[in-house]
Symmetry: C2
Subunit: 596 residues, 2 copies
């Protein structure tokens, strides 16, 4: 019995046709001895009717079926009786009067319901163990399709822009100073290891030296990080690099790509160009380098005001070069003690000593700190924060970046509290893209007592700042850019250093990497730059995360066919596992006591 | 100076235009003080003229340039003087009178010539060490582009057929009984390992159980095999699986894909459907399951003839169930002793005791064995092999498959000798695709004393043979198919087993895998089959090899941007390497003495 149609296809225009369908038994209903089976395939559902009065044997065979069994049927397309049409299905006006049934495979009873609502209630471990059933759920099937359409749109776009996709190796070289990497022991070279590529960064720059000019790749990358909710051991990166380009070229290129993806996948037109926000402004206004700009609740700066304050905590911070920041959360004066405690805990986790606040209720300022404030200070707060009854203001006093980050966290958490109260609405489809730019090239690492590259050591300084590289690295802006959507960092990139002398200066004189380490890790890149490297730059972003946003799901595990758990386990195939002594011996390695 | 055009673009229709170009100095020629620079980018070459009489400083700056340096120039498009046009270049009728020059990066002198001919003469290790220079050579650049266009065409094709691309994990589970795999130690699970996926086989079958119905992926795969000339540690596989399909559906699907690729990449129309050749016929006629059918030189069978021969060697082989095969290489009677020795060595490497032959020269049969042959035997050989003066016949007497394989090898080597003599021509663009079908499902492993799956244990038997699975496994044909092009196996696949009981029977009763091993390795697959697995099948083929054929190169290393050597080394980045004790400790492993 060969399929003639799929299960989302037949309508009234096919009445009377002889058809064959194949798929899964979605449900079975018995109406007075007549069986109605919803037959499902990846395109839809068609109702199939088995009437024992027409064919007793066939009816008996159908009665044996269980949900999720695989069958093929033949029959004739008939109209559903008056009043029984299902308007929510494209095939809802017809049914098939079955004349033949082939059982292709029985199914045991699934361990959880395969509809969207029922499946969502199930423990995720169970879903991952039976991923082949979980993926039958409509929303999961749709997620896989959205992922396919997204990658297709991306590839079509870059192809239309004359970029070529080049595959770079997964088995790369260990660079222990970066993020933790997966090692792969070599059988042929005892005691030596490959590392799984964390990103094609070095290869894509080498491709620019090779004259490829326009490269992209949808590449698998690997990072042995402690897995948070939104991380996976292996993830997929859309990786792009081009020669003879400026930051403006990359912005335009990428805006074009996102426009195409949103149009093709969601049918939505997103306006371009995207706004740009310097890093300093992002921190000052939103307390984050990946701000969610769907709502205001902006931070305000009161450092100058409190410099000479009688409130010693603020004054001391301001005097020692720190910052005093405040945020007015309008309408949250009804915050509960528990909620307040949560906000305070979140602030403390970021290094705050506490979370000073002022509530305005019944015309009064209620706050443990209000007694320390002068008339003038109160007046300026009231004016600049536009304080009204029902508001609550939070303060942070700390080193500038930390003070911003603390209130950035408070801002996000307070927004959730407003949403809970119905005082704020954030729509998933309110797409607020923006570029965050002008990051500092270097960040001072207090602990280690030296500079680290904010992005990575290949990022070029803004040309007019390059002279300060050694005298005042902190003041040098990098030609780096991040793309942010609704509080999520989608990706980032930079114009790279293409001059060998500058690259060597950054490695050795700014980052203070010993010359022999530079040579063993990056010697080949420095060498490549001496053979006619063009100016180049690029970008990379996480495909998993962008697909999750397109699918409207919080978890990237929902858009990866076979994700691992946060403990790095494949619950379905049962991995990782111990291996045989023979395998270890061939690889010249042994297991050491985990307690060592 | 922002590029206005690329270097393959300007023609006479642009005369007088002010333009800016950027790229690499391909060559510099000095004609009486006037410098002509061929400026190259990925699109072509444009001649740029620096006349010191127009601008002395500019001329002096240009004189400092070295080949492969990166520059940007501005100037005016002018016609080349009468008689100096270069018809081989699209831009050959014009040149740019330079008015500005920006040096973007100097280049050291490359360690080898970057043209096709010069570069081909260079040691491959040097090319791999400086891969960024090697990839600048026109043929290598073209290879990368062909690879991109091939993958694009493949993805467009499957998308148009409503297949969706699904990414499956690279970090999979160790299955030590298969090909040797790369292991990845787990940090979180001490003493446990992932294995890098050798193929998405199990995941793609699981996706069929999940109801995806039409899956494809261009997937990176990993095999720790001893690397032959045409193997790489990591390779790229085009992987396809579909539900509710027959072998015929897969043939048609794949023929359509290859047709599209050949048309889009080469502009060639390949005729479909492809011929099909049962495995037995392929062996009997060509001595190979991947025959090159661009030429004849078919094998003939004389087992029956020699069964009662006085030539004991042949008679004994025939009597014990073996086969006597012969091949007439027309026109190779002038074979040299050295060539004959090579053929014999190749035959012996496949298990032949020697290589019996008969030359026909000057009307005489010259051969050490001719004295053992009867009049009747000679007559039948002469007739059936159409023996003529100048021919040479080779014989193999051995177990059937081995006899075929020996003469299959002789056939290929003899063809090369005929080509050398100008007596045979094989064109690279004479595309002879064919399906080899009806493979035996199981192969008896003499050494181990048991059956092994010819393809893999998931291949379904031909339905009418399934009853013989336990009584006579040798007689069961598998629903397996290979696609072969000009002697190269491009890929293969099969209809899979979708019935859990049959799959269990194959594992345990035919392959005799202990039940506990089946459970630990494949338990999850057997379980998945119990939840409504549809009939399904698919195919996989090596992308690297197909791109190599499209590029007309013998080595897959020429179509991989960054291949490893046959010793598994990345000569450019220098990998593998030793790692730090800290890294090993985190992974709970240690290096064992290689001598152990």
């Amino acid at each position: 019995m060969k399929r003639t149609h799929h299960c989302g296809q037949l309508t009234k225009s096919d009445l009377g046709a002889s058809v064959s369908l194949a798929g899964w038994v979605d449900s079975i209903r018995d109406h007075g001895g007549i069986l109605f089976i919803d037959l499902r395939d990846r395109k839809g559902i068609t109702q199939v009717k088995f009437d024992p009065q027409d064919d007793a044997a066939l009816g008996a065979a159908a009665a044996q079926l269980k949900p999720e069994s695989v069958i093929a049927i033949s029959g004739t397309v008939a109209p559903r009786p008056e009043g029984t049409a299902n308007a929510s299905l494209p095939t809802g006006e017809v049914e098939i009067n079955a004349t033949a049934l082939e059982l292709l495979n029985l199914s045991d009873t699934p361990p959880f319901p395969l509809d969207d609502v029922g499946g969502d209630r199930v423990n995720e471990d169970l879903r991952l163990t039976y991923r082949y059933l979980d993926l039958r759920r409509p929303k999961m099937r749709k997620n896989l399709e959205v992922r396919h359409r997204t990658t297709k749109a991306i590839r079509d776009y870059f192809d239309s822009q004359e970029f070529i996709e080049v595959e770079t190796p997964a088995l790369f070289k260990s660079t222990p100073e970066g993020a933790r990497e997966y090692l792969v022991p070599s059988r042929i070279h005892p005691g030596q290891f490959y590392a799984l590529s964390q990103s094609p960064q070095q290869f894509k720059q080498i491709l620019m030296v090779a004259g490829v000019e326009k490269y992209f790749q949808i590449a698998r990358c690997f990072r042995d990080e402690d897995l948070r909710a939104d991380r996976q051991m292996e993830f997929t990166q859309v990786d792009v690099e081009a020669s003879f380009v400026t930051r403006e070229d990359i912005y335009a290129l990428f805006e074009g790509m996102l426009k195409k993806v949103w149009r093709e996948v969601l049918g939505t037109d997103i306006p371009t160009p995207f706004p740009r926000l310097p890093f300093i402004d992002a921190m000052n206004r939103y307390g984050s380098d990946k701000p969610d700009t769907r709502f205001g609740l902006e931070l305000a700066d009161f450092t100058a005001l409190f410099k000479t304050s009688d409130f010693k905590v603020f004054a001391a911070t301001a005097a020692s070069g720190g910052a005093i920041k405040a945020i007015n959360v309008k309408g949250l004066a009804d915050i509960t003690q528990g909620e307040l405690k949560s906000l305070e805990d979140a602030a403390k986790a970021l290094g705050a000593k506490g979370l000073a606040f002022i509530k305005v209720e019944g015309g009064e300022w209620k706050s443990p700190i209000v007694k320390f404030l002068s008339e003038g200070e109160r007046a300026e707060l009231a004016t600049r924060l536009a304080l009204e009854d029902g508001d609550i203001v939070f303060f942070a006093a700390a080193e500038w970046e930390r003070a911003c980050a603390i209130l950035g966290r408070v801002r996000l958490d307070a927004a959730q509290l407003l949403i809970k109260r119905g005082k704020l609405t954030l729509r998933d489809d309110d797409w607020r893209f923006l570029w965050v730019v002008d990051f500092p090239l270097m960040t001072y690492d207090e602990e280690r007592g030296g500079y680290a590259a904010t992005h990575h050591p290949f990022t070029a300084p803004v040309p007019e700042d390059a002279g300060l590289l050694e005298s005042d690295p902190r003041a040098v802006r990098g030609q780096h850019y991040d793309i942010v959507l609704n509080g999520v960092e989608l990706g980032g990139g930079s114009i790279r250093i293409h001059q060998p002398a500058l690259q060597k200066q950054v490695f050795e004189d700014v980052l203070k990497i010993p010359a022999d380490v530079v040579e063993s890790r990056f010697g080949y890149m420095l060498k490549a730059l001496t053979y006619g490297a063009p100016p180049h730059g690029g970008i990379a972003f996480g495909l998993d995360r962008i697909v999750a946003l397109l699918c409207g799901t919080q978890s990237i595990r929902d858009v990866i066919a076979f994700p691992k758990t946060q403990r790095g386990q494949d619950l379905m195939a049962q991995s990782p596992t111990p291996v045989t002594p023979k395998q270890l011996k061939e690889l010249h390695i042994g297991i050491t006591d985990p307690a060592l």
